[in-house]
């Protein structure tokens, strides 16, 4: 059943927490190379749990996750770290190491590739440093390279987070509520940047997102999660009022369904 041309296959994934709560059940998703998916659903639906199961920050209790033909749920130690290198993660609260510089934060995306001493002494290969500067200038903050991460604004921090994920040279980006801590305008800029970079680098992405309108604006495939189960998997156009009610419950969805006007923007 599992097609081999899909880069990532999540098959019958289940996560039951020690408390007995079933966070995910029977989740099956196929992700072709380079496809960007928005994962929507109410708080507590299991969106964060799902993407953390993919890179094993959380261990699923059943099911398989096949990345490039390799079952990640079976890996441990060195082979798990090797698999994680191929998955870049972007976080809601940016999760930058606050007291390190922007450059150190970006280069930390290469930790899976460099040895301990090299990383301790910050002796990264020149190719990594070149790539870090290229990414920083691509996300528009190369002039901040030596600033400390905690000196940046929210939008700037998330740009560092994006650069850190991309320098891993990932096959997929796992993106957990990238815009939830940002103002509406910055949120759109960051969303657009993530989508553009995914396309430029032919990297797939699973993006957890609260904002349904934003999701519909930027992606071509949306998956709806409710109480740990997939209740929708389709295009933004298929996501109608009834479907939103199924996912989130009864509410007036008129405004959400209308096409959101894209506004002009200047960088940063």
């Amino acid at each position: 059943m599992a097609q081999t041309d899909n880069m990532l296959e999540i098959i019958n994934l289940e996560k039951r927490y020690k408390t007995g709560d079933l966070a995910l059940s029977n989740v099956t998703i196929s992700v072709p190379k380079g496809e960007v998916i928005a994962l929507i659903g109410p708080s507590g639906a299991g969106k964060s749990t799902l993407i953390r199961c993919v890179n094993r920050l959380i261990d699923p209790t059943a099911g398989q996750i096949i990345l490039n033909g390799e079952d990640i749920t079976k890996l441990g130690g060195r082979s798990l770290r090797r698999a994680r290198r191929k998955m870049g993660m972007i976080f809601q609260e940016y999760a930058l190491v606050e007291r390190l510089s922007v450059m150190e934060n970006v280069l930390s995306g290469r930790l899976g590739y460099v040895g301990f001493w090299a990383s301790l002494m910050r002796k990264y290969p020149q190719s990594d440093i070149d790539e870090a500067f290229r990414l920083l200038s691509r996300v528009g903050i190369d002039h901040f390279a030596d600033k400390r991460a905690d000196a940046l604004s929210g939008g700037q921090r998330q740009r560092v987070g994006i650069a850190r994920a991309l320098i891993q040279d990932p096959d997929i980006m796992l993106v957990d509520e990238p815009t939830a801590s940002l103002d509406p305008k910055t949120a759109r800029q960051i969303m657009r940047l993530i989508i553009e970079l995914a396309q430029e680098n032919n990297v797939a992405a699973i993006i957890n997102i609260h904002d349904v309108a934003l999701a519909k604006m930027f992606v071509s495939r949306i998956i709806g999660l409710q109480l740990g189960e997939i209740v929708f998997d389709g295009t933004p156009d298929d996501l109608d009022e009834d479907m939103l009610t199924t996912i989130y419950g009864e509410e007036d969805w008129e405004a959400t369904i209308q096409k959101v006007e894209d506004e002009d923007e200047e960088e940063i």
Binding site: R85, A95, V97
Partner: protein, 270 residues
């Protein structure tokens, strides 16, 4: 107009202990204890002995204000140097040895057995006062600064490891998660996500411990564990209170300088 419709309600701060019976029992018990304690002391005060001790007290104070730095300058110099050596060596070695214990005693990153071992070690090293531990080491390695240095080193490990472990338990986990997600190994995770978060406190505590260790080194000499304390004790038993005054002045001066330095360092790193 709303004035008439809203009924008057009073408010006062809720008492610390809700149950009034228990509250009054606690208050009365504290007062009764204080009164009884006072009468116990009163019975122990012996006017005759105070009168006998008075001339000694006067001599002690008059000698203190005219400290004699020179009669025993050689002993004082050796004592001070010994104390400083003990302080620096014990702080340096202790702080380095405290690092693995700090990591081991942090519940959020250490495996259970390592955690229990590290916590047990820390509790043991903090249970006994330095002076008791020093007595043991004087027996084991003989009189002199080695016994004192080992004592202070152990105390330093317990002190730094306990406070650092607590700091590590309070770190922002999302930074750890982010570094793990890059495929970093455990040591890389420590270097990139834990150390940056706890380094300022580590430096601050080290500076603080340096200053504690010097003060302790002055006490340890009294039980024969080397340092300025030994010289201090000798001068006291010889009733050389002018020398005692000089030694105390030197200790105060060094402690003040150390405190200024450690205060400055802590302020800079925060």
């Amino acid at each position: 107009m709303a004035k008439d419709t809203i009924p008057k309600r009073t408010w006062s701060m809720p008492p610390l202990i809700k149950n009034p019976t228990i509250r009054w029992i606690v208050i009365i018990a504290i007062i009764a204890y204080a009164i009884m304690a006072f009468f116990t002391i009163k019975n122990g005060i012996n006017p005759v002995r105070i009168k006998q001790g008075w001339p000694r007290t006067v001599r002690l104070i008059t000698n203190f204000v005219q400290p004699d730095f020179f009669t025993r300058i050689k002993d004082i110099r050796i004592g001070v140097l010994e104390s400083i050596t003990m302080t620096v060596v014990s702080t340096f070695v202790g702080v380095i040895l405290a690092i693995p214990f700090s990591l081991g005693a942090a519940r959020n990153i250490a495996p259970r057995p390592v955690y229990l071992f590290s916590r047990t070690f820390i509790i043991l090293s903090r249970t006994f006062p330095e002076i008791v531990v020093a007595l043991l080491f004087v027996v084991m390695v003989g009189f002199g600064p080695l016994a004192g240095a080992i004592t202070l080193m152990l105390a330093t490990i317990g002190f730094i490891a306990k406070l650092m472990a607590e700091d590590i338990e309070d770190i922002d986990e999302s930074q750890v998660e982010a570094i793990k997600a890059t495929g970093a190994s455990w040591p890389q995770m420590v270097v990139y996500s834990i150390i940056p978060q706890v380094l300022p406190r580590f430096i601050g505590l080290t500076a603080y411990r340096l200053d504690i260790n010097f003060r302790q080194s002055a006490i340890l000499g009294i039980v024969g564990a080397g340092g300025i304390g030994a010289v201090l004790k000798t001068s006291m038993s010889r009733y050389d209170f002018d020398t005692t005054g000089a030694i105390l002045a030197i200790i105060i001066a060094i402690v003040l300088v150390l405190e200024l330095i450690s205060g400055y360092i802590r302020k800079r790193v925060q």
